[in-house]
């Protein structure tokens, strides 16, 4: 078995992932690139006597790397060892993509070109001559359509074929004058014992002429650096004079664009029909109707999440309760039985029950991304976000924040200016993450009428977003002064979403959610169950048991049992802790149970639900079992419930999110600020809301 290592590289939106998905019999591994939080996809596939390992590198527009993802890709291309480069390009925008291909070919590694989405070009009456393109670039060219599975298997054949070639043909040359300078400089570089390969030296020289800092750093420590540096300066001066440019980078950019243009003219018959994207864009990013349409989409998404997502909840609830009761009968009575059936199953069940809501929300966000609407939303919102000291691209982490704060913090890396990034990250917590949804769903169904439930949820989400924007504005005015980062963004064409990719994403998301619910949350729930069940008070229990046996009336019996449960909880470790912190939350109308639930939300937001379930449902172990909702209505009044919603909206996100923030922001001052200010703000806001509602007579 021979091993071939290949890297798949291309500009964003060229459909690399769908090609990876379309390769049959491939084993997919998902992980992270070493040391950074950028997702790494890798597939292994067998073909004859070969085992081909393909690493899918993050999308990169140019070797002039800009975003952290691009840095990862560039570093991988420069530093790691691999046999073959698979360069994927989008047939629809072949010219722009070829500019990057030309940069890659400077490396003179074994490269194959995959022209993806060729079906879209042909549908519109276009045509691409693969043989001619292959001849001009002197590398293998494959026309593919991941959607139609066309050409995908041929990629592997070509990888094996080129693997056996001695080296890349790559006969792309720049203007004679430029090549002269390159050759002169490469000769200096080859004097160093570190360089023996002319192709590599040529590549480094080109990058140096383009003022590539990464390469500069590599050659900086070489003994020939002084000579090279001087010659480089002279070469740049000569080129600037010769071509009348201010910057040699412009020269290379123009050279590559001109080359790409002439190649496309020779190999491609351009599509004739006007694209559908033009027509759709006329409506969706209309100066007047664009924003209302966007808001309508968002509103629809949340209505759908709540209305459709709540349909299977009752069924799930019943199933989980039945399962717990069935298990209670089977397991021997005692502490272990109680741990499982009273502690773990209700806690995990409470979270799983909300899976339908969360799935619909994720589906909606994925749909926005895959169809290309996400970029339009950023376009529409940039002017607006600029006013709050943010920029249109911040919209993407902000929207991801509605899914989960952890990836949202990571998505904020696309903002290159550290100030823009920090402000965005500091307010991301106000975008309500999906883990908070169960808490809202519970409180809304307990304290609001069903017909207004969707509207209340919408108000919570919009309210959090608006608060975040105001905080951003204040942060920008008080802490940072300076212009926000520039805004240059590709608007990908509208595409029908691929069902397979949607299903794949949803599968990964729900697996992660259930994993989290199954391990971390259940662990937290068990700790809370332990803290709320121990220490035991045999005397108190005996006392109550006697009184329960003495009375005849079933109602009084139940009341006594509930009293006992309440007493036991009050005396437990958790009760003691809750009482200790009660004074802090007392002005918000919280009793110790709500205080404990709020604190437990720092472990993970959905734990608030399981904590409340444990704290209020303990006394309900008899046949008149009342649900958590009824318990809440019994113990909590309306204004307190609203204050709790406000607290959940604003205070610190879960420990996983907080750790991510710490990992992304190294300064202790910002970490401290980030840890303290949301909690102070949350308390103040909840206090105001509580007292305003009290004044209004609630």
């Amino acid at each position: 078995m021979k091993k071939i290592k290949a890297v798949m590289v291309g500009q964003p939106n060229v459909g690399k992932s769908s090609i990876i998905n379309a390769i049959s019999n491939a084993r997919l591994h998902v992980g992270n690139f070493a040391g950074v939080t950028v997702e790494k996809k890798e597939v292994e596939v067998r073909k004859g006597e070969y085992e081909i390992d393909i690493v899918d590198l993050p999308g990169i527009y140019s070797l002039h790397a800009y975003t952290p993802e691009e840095q990862v890709t560039k570093r991988y291309l420069l530093e790691e060892s691999y046999d073959v480069i698979i360069n994927v390009v989008d047939a629809n925008v072949l010219q722009r993509n070829l500019v990057f291909t030309l940069q890659l070919l400077d490396m003179r590694k074994k490269t194959i070109l995959v022209v993806n989405m060729v079906d879209e070009v042909e549908e519109k009456g276009g045509h691409i001559d693969a043989n001619k393109l292959s001849e001009l670039l002197d590398i293998p060219v494959i026309l593919t359509s991941a959607k139609e599975k066309r050409g995908v298997e041929e990629i592997l054949d070509q990888v094996i074929h080129i693997y056996h070639q001695p080296k890349c043909g790559c006969k792309i040359y720049y203007n004679e004058k430029i090549e002269e300078e390159i050759e002169r400089l490469a000769k200096i570089l080859l004097k160093s014992p570190h360089f023996s390969d002319y192709d590599q030296a040529r590549f480094y020289v080109i990058r140096l002429l383009e003022k590539d800092e990464d390469i500069y750093r590599i050659v900086h420590d070489l003994p020939i650096f002084l000579e090279l540096h001087e010659a480089l300066g002279e070469a740049i001066r000569r080129l600037q004079l010769e071509f009348d440019v201010e910057d040699v980078r412009d020269l290379f950019a123009e050279e590559r664009h001109a080359l790409a243009k002439s190649i496309v003219m020779q190999v491609m018959r351009l599509p004739q029909k006007e694209s559908l994207t033009d027509k759709i864009d006329k409506i969706l990013i209309h100066p007047v109707f664009g924003l209302p349409i966007f808001l309508f989409f968002m509103w629809g998404l949340f209505q759908l999440t709540f209305e459709i997502g709540s349909l299977p909840v009752d069924y799930l609830d019943q199933t989980i309760t039945n399962f717990a009761n069935w298990l209670k009968g089977i397991l021997p009575p005692g502490d272990f039985n109680s741990v499982i059936t009273d502690g773990v199953i209700p806690a995990v069940g409470a979270v799983i029950m909300f899976l339908p809501n969360i799935l619909i929300l994720f589906l909606g966000i994925n749909l926005l991304e895959q169809t290309g609407y996400m970029a339009r939303a950023a376009f529409l919102l940039d002017g607006f976000l600029k006013k709050f000291g943010l920029q249109g691209k911040a919209f993407i982490p902000l929207v991801s924040g509605f899914g989960c704060t952890v990836p949202a913090y990571m998505a904020a890396r696309t903002l290159k200016n550290p100030k823009d990034r920090l402000i965005t990250m500091l307010i991301l917590g106000f975008m309500n993450c999906s883990a908070r949804l169960p808490v809202y769903v519970l409180l809304i169904s307990a304290f609001f009428a069903t017909h207004s439930a969707g509207n209340v949820l919408f108000a919570i989400y919009i309210g959090g977003a608006i608060l975040g924007l105001f905080v951003a504005k204040i942060l920008r005015m008080v802490l940072f002064k300076g212009e926000p980062e520039p805004f240059v963004m590709e608007m990908p064409p509208y595409r029908f979403p691929s069902l397979k990719a949607l299903a794949m994403e949803l599968w990964i998301k729900s697996k992660l959610f259930i994993k989290k619910a199954g391990t971390f949350i259940a662990g937290a729930a068990m700790i809370i169950w332990f803290l709320s069940s121990y220490p035991h008070h045999p005397k108190l229990e005996q006392n109550y048991q006697q009184r329960i046996e003495q009375v005849q009336d079933a109602k009084i019996k139940e009341q006594l049992q509930n009293e006992l449960a309440a007493k036991k909880l009050e005396l437990s470790y958790l009760g003691q802790f809750g009482k200790m912190i009660e004074p802090v939350f007392a002005p918000l109308g919280f009793d110790w149970r709500l205080s404990v639930a709020t604190i437990s939300g720092l472990a993970a937001k959905e734990v608030v639900v399981s904590t409340l379930a444990t704290l209020y449902a303990v006394g309900a172990g008899n046949e008149h079992s009342s649900t958590l909702v009824q318990k809440l209505r019994e113990y909590v009044d309306f204004k307190t419930a609203v204050a709790l919603i406000v607290i959940i909206m604003i205070y610190s996100p879960c420990v996983a999110a907080m750790s991510t923030f710490y990992a992304e922001v190294p300064q202790w001052a910002w970490r401290t600020f980030y840890t303290i200010y949301p909690n102070v703000l949350a308390w103040l806001m909840a206090f105001s809301v509580y007292h305003v509602l009290a004044l209004l007579g609630f």
Binding site: R249, H257, F379, P486, F487, V488
Partner: protein, 73 residues
Amino acid sequence: MNITDLKIGEKATITKVKASEPIKGRLYAMGITKGNTIRLLDHTLKKQTWEVDVEGTRVALRDEEARAVEVER
């Protein structure tokens, strides 16, 4: 003249990109380079954000960046 002087739907040729790094590198990567054809597609109500088509790629720009791209009809 620059992009912001074009009418919606109007085509022009790029003559110069006045931006400094890193904006220039990003504009180049999107295909906004001297010699390429650019077409103004749309702008937002208050002309804060502009959408152009460069050789088949649609790009969104802010006012500041759009003014940095000089064109010729």
